[in-house]
Subunit: 180 residues, 2 copies
Amino acid sequence: MNFCSNCASPVEFKTPPGDHLPRFVCGSCGMIHYKNPLLVLGCVPEWQGRILLCKRAIEPRLGFWTVPAGFMENAETLQAAAARECYEEALARVTIGSLLALVSVTGASQVHVMFRATLDRPEFAPGPESLEVRLYDEGEIPWDRLAFPSGEFTLRKYFEDRAAGRENHHFAELSSRLKS
Amino acid sequence: MNFCSNCASPVEFKTPPGDHLPRFVCGSCGMIHYKNPLLVLGCVPEWQGRILLCKRAIEPRLGFWTVPAGFMENAETLQAAAARECYEEALARVTIGSLLALVSVTGASQVHVMFRATLDRPEFAPGPESLEVRLYDEGEIPWDRLAFPSGEFTLRKYFEDRAAGRENHHFAELSSRLKS
């Protein structure tokens, strides 16, 4: 950030009076421009025991596999965001289920929230951000070709819980959005 | 938003190619400025069965009572944010416990995440954003003087679960951050 989005004057990065962290502050109109963590919403879509994954058509991690997930938009609920991302990336309609994972990605200032989900019908196809979309049995999951550590954490907890017959939620802290 | 924070040129509010929602787009350098939901983190701090609430010293809802909560900062975890807010507003150190509430406040484009917590010791005092901080028995909670509906939802679920001897998490969707 170089300029104030309110008045176009240069901003300074300094701690405002009464605050405890530096912010971008306009030297002219005084507006404080906060930067806060972004929410990434996703789900693990299941159909008859198999899991829908997407092969990424975009960077980062082009060509690697991921659960459908993306940035939450304004004015939607957590569940609506997770379902929308699944439709955009896999053209698949899902019913969102229980909460599965909450991952604080501190190095990227993101929070990833993942739900269990069920495909409404076995219809899916690559959206614009996907090269390929397919259902995987647990034994076929391409663990070494997964795009993001939060997705790997999510899938591992999904299968652990499924084997144990429970639907818990799980916290993790990751320093980086990508593999370190 | 009036100007591009990258190059200070005027922005337009329009849907970028390949997107499905309007964004602030710079007419000069082309940067897209996304606006996404903000995370508000809080907790219900307990000490020997009583709950710590804060009387707000700032608007909105000056003079009304709230659980300690506020905007999550970059590079912290959900739990760290909830504990930090409790220290800032009530000068109280807490140990964060189980997940209690996830509230999508669609009208404000916020997501409120609330945890159970326990005071590390019975020491607290008003921080700069609080007029008063005190412990309340369940029967004394000032339900008609609570600041925010998400806090009321959080407290009601807290007491319901406590009476039932469980620690569930609960979802809600609220249209407004303030009472309607």
